[in-house]
């Protein structure tokens, strides 16, 4: 018997929000709330750790990190802090099985670099094998993705994109899925987002997880596997899936 050696409480679920005050532009709180509530509704003690500039407190306790988008001014402030403080503990956590959901600006910062229209390169932390270049036209509008995740049911993901960056995947990252509507990663190869280990990067907000509760559960479950959790108990998702369905229905009449 070694019940005393259980890692922390097996009944807590912790979300780490990277830069909640600076990287929160597109209703990112929806993603945080969805992760927390869905864990809570299953009897977990859901905890939020806010990881603002200068702090690395409790990063090793986090199950799922969230890294959202920001405005250029804020993104520059975040980059320095990311390199100086967050990168090592973040990499440690991910290597031990913690998950990451990175949206838009967060997605770009986790990649190798962001290259401006003038050819200037801002390095990212290279945690995922993606690179981003500035594009001329901003991609704005509804997105429907057919996700490439076996356990996901349904396979569709719905969201809203608003970005001018064009992201391209290297061999270590694989696409989250193919766009049925919208532009996704770069508008040219039909891919959207990326999966690399437990890191999920995407351009979808809207917010993403509230209307895609199955993806929220995928993230929660993936992070809890290391604590011996195989299956999550089912929840009533009628309200969430009605909103998901509405976007799918509209998409049949939309062309972008």
């Amino acid at each position: 018997m070694n019940t005393t050696k259980m890692p922390r409480s097996s009944h807590t679920f912790t979300v780490g929000w990277l830069y909640p005050d600076l990287m929160n532009i597109y209703g990112d709180r929806g993603n945080i709330l969805t992760l927390l509530k869905r864990a809570e509704w299953r009897g977990y003690e859901a905890k939020l750790v806010e990881l603002g500039r200068g702090t690395v407190n409790q990063m090793d306790e986090v199950d799922v990190f969230f890294f959202g988008g920001g405005q250029d001014r804020e993104q520059a402030l975040v980059y320095e802090d990311l390199l100086e403080f967050k990168q090592p503990p973040l990499e440690r956590a991910v290597n031990s099985g913690a998950g990451v959901l990175a949206v838009c600006g967060g997605y770009q910062l986790l990649g190798h670099y962001y290259q401006t229209a003038e050819g200037e390169r801002f390095p990212g932390i290279g945690m995922i094998d993606v690179r981003t270049e500035a594009g001329k036209k901003r991609f704005i509008g509804d997105v429907v993705v057919d996700a490439d995740i076996d356990t996901l049911n349904p396979k569709t993901l719905v969201g809203f994109e608003n970005h001018s960056g064009r992201t391209f995947l290297g061999p270590k990252a694989r696409p989250l899925g193919k766009v049925r509507l919208g532009n996704g990663n770069n508008g040219s190869d039909k891919t959207e987002g990326c999966l690399q280990g437990t890191v999920l990067g995407t351009y979808l907000h809207g917010s993403l997880l509230p209307k895609n509760p199955h993806l929220a559960d995928y993230l929660i479950r993936s992070a809890l596997i290391r604590r011996g959790v195989d299956e999550l108990s089912p929840l009533d998702d009628a309200v969430e899936m009605a909103a998901h369905e509405r976007i799918l229905q509209r998409a049949q009449h939309q062309h972008r």
């Binding site: 005050d21 600076l22 929160n24 532009i25 597109y26 209703g27 990112d28 709180r29 929806g30 709330l33 969805t34 509530k37 603002g52 500039r53 405005q71 250029d72 001014r73 804020e74 402030l77 901003r138 704005i140 509008g141 509804d142 809203f160 608003n162 907000h205 809207g206 917010s207 509230p210 209307k211 309200v239 969430e240 009605a242 909103a243 509405r246």
Partner: protein, 467 residues
């Protein structure tokens, strides 16, 4: 061969007259066919004939123009200023239906112009969308420009807050020094713009700890110092990120306002009282956001030379614009229609409805048409949690009613089934609201138009171009 100056002038005047006539005809046709109030289309038509039409019409004004911009409060503030000017015997032209792009301003000027093409009015009062400001000030050449606030709003349409701020900066910088600039000192991003101007603007701000919160709401945007990047420290928070702030490294702080509102007493959606510039005011408008609007209008009126006691007397009987805060009665229920279009505005109307008006019955309508913003993710920045425990009826409505239903579920607020159809949503609200109770209808711009159209169809409200 080039034409002589007088010939050019004649040509220019003829073109102006033709543009005015065509614009006016379009407006009349639009109203006659009931396609709406003809609030922007006449502007399109006239500008196609004479691209300089707005500049020419604005030059006809006896005294000049006042331009109002900012994310929230433009319509109410413009209406307050017009109301004060009209009460003092001035003839005012304004784009009062909330048509705040350059076409709307043009249409408003056309509407008041004589068929000869001359605009006979004393003042132009124009509310201008933030993104249209550079063009508007270039064409209108206002005597006074008022900047209310800069909140996160419709990122899909405007891009980031920063690019909007840059547009306002550019517009103000291009104006001559003698043009009066009146700015909100409590808004860090607006203050940054004002501090960069060659001449000190007239600053206004609230000064009353009793109505302030001490923590920023989640939806706050401008919270870092523009000089050193440190997070700003707020000692008072009034609306959104508007409050009293300073940088911990002393690199930046709220400019000291010359025009303040103190001793503020809020009374739900019904009225508020405040002391502005030593004058006690009682205004039949609710919510702290309206205290800002009245303060801003007061600052404008004072710089136009109106007397404080006249302003106080006149404002006692002010009524808000259509759908901004409109009271309607139906079958014993009191309906309170309030425009709520972004997180900062929504949080304030929710706070007013729940804390001050003790509201229990709500219809929340979210549309995602162009004028509302096609991206609805901002609803996750609104603190709908405020409704938890106090609201007994919440009907999610509008084209994105289903998204609202999800938001309410995660806020822990029990909600009725989502209703996209405005008529059905109203029916459900009436059915669930007790006789004699008040229902608060908080809606985005076109959702408000849809609900109002339905109310007009049922004979509960007047068409908006008659309000």
């Amino acid at each position: 061969m080039s034409s002589t100056p007088s010939r050019r002038n004649r040509k220019s005047a003829a073109r102006k007259t033709a543009a005015v006539l065509a614009g006016k005809a379009t407006g009349a046709l639009s109203r006659a066919t009931r396609r709406g109030g003809g609030t922007t289309l006449p502007g399109d038509v006239a500008r196609a004939i004479d691209p300089k039409i707005l500049t020419k019409l604005a030059a006809d004004l006896t005294y000049g123009s006042i331009v109002i911009t900012g994310t929230n409060g433009k319509t109410t503030t413009a209406r307050l200023i017009s109301y004060l000017l009209e009460g003092a015997g001035h003839r005012v032209v304004s784009n009062r239906a909330g048509a705040n792009l350059i076409f709307g301003a043009t249409a408003a000027a056309l509407n008041e112009a004589a068929p000869t093409g001359t605009l006979r009015a004393d003042w132009g009062v124009f509310e201008i969308d933030e993104a249209s400001l550079p063009k508007a000030v270039e064409e209108i050449k206002p005597k006074i420009t008022l900047v209310l606030n800069l909140f996160r709003d419709q990122l899909d349409r405007y891009g980031e807050l920063e690019s909007i701020a840059k547009k306002i900066e550019q517009a103000l910088a291009a104006m001559p020094d003698e043009a009066v600039k009146i700015l909100n000192a409590d808004d860090p991003r607006v203050a940054e713009i004002g501090l960069g101007l060659p001449a000190t603007p007239l600053w206004f701000g609230l000064d009353d700890a009793s109505v302030a919160a001490t923590e920023l709401p989640h939806a706050a945007d401008a919270r870092t110092c523009p000089r050193c990047g440190a997070s700003l420290i707020f000692t008072a928070v009034y609306v959104g990120h508007d409050g009293n702030y300073h940088c911990p490294n002393n690199d930046f702080a709220r400019p000291t306002p010359t025009m303040t509102a103190r001793n503020i007493k809020l009374d739900g959606f019904d009225r508020f009282a405040a002391t502005i510039d030593h004058q006690r005011l009682e205004v039949p408008l609710g919510g702290l956001y309206n205290t800002y609007n009245v303060l801003a209008a007061f600052a404008v009126a004072k710089s136009l030379g109106l007397e404080s006691d006249y302003i106080a007397e006149r404002l006692k009987d002010f009524s808000a614009a259509f759908g901004r805060q409109e009271r309607l009665e139906f079958r014993g229920r009191h309906l309170n229609l309030v425009l709520s279009k972004n997180p900062a505005g929504f949080n304030e109307t929710l706070r007013t409805a729940v804390e001050l008006a003790k509201g229990t019955s709500f219809l929340i309508a979210l549309n995602d048409r162009k004028a509302d913003g096609t991206d609805v993710s901002w609803i996750w920045d609104v603190d709908f949690e405020q409704l938890k425990g106090s609201a007994t009826v919440v009907v999610p409505a509008g084209t994105r009613a289903h998204d609202l239903a999800v938001r309410l579920k995660y806020a822990g607020v029990p909600a009725a089934q989502p209703e996209i159809d405005p008529g059905k949503a109203l029916d459900l609200l009436i059915k669930m609201t007790n006789d004699g109770d008040t229902a608060h209808l908080l809606c985005t711009y076109t959702a408000m138009l849809d609900l109002r159209a339905e109310l007009v169809r049922r004979g509960w409200a007047k068409p908006y171009w008659e309000t």
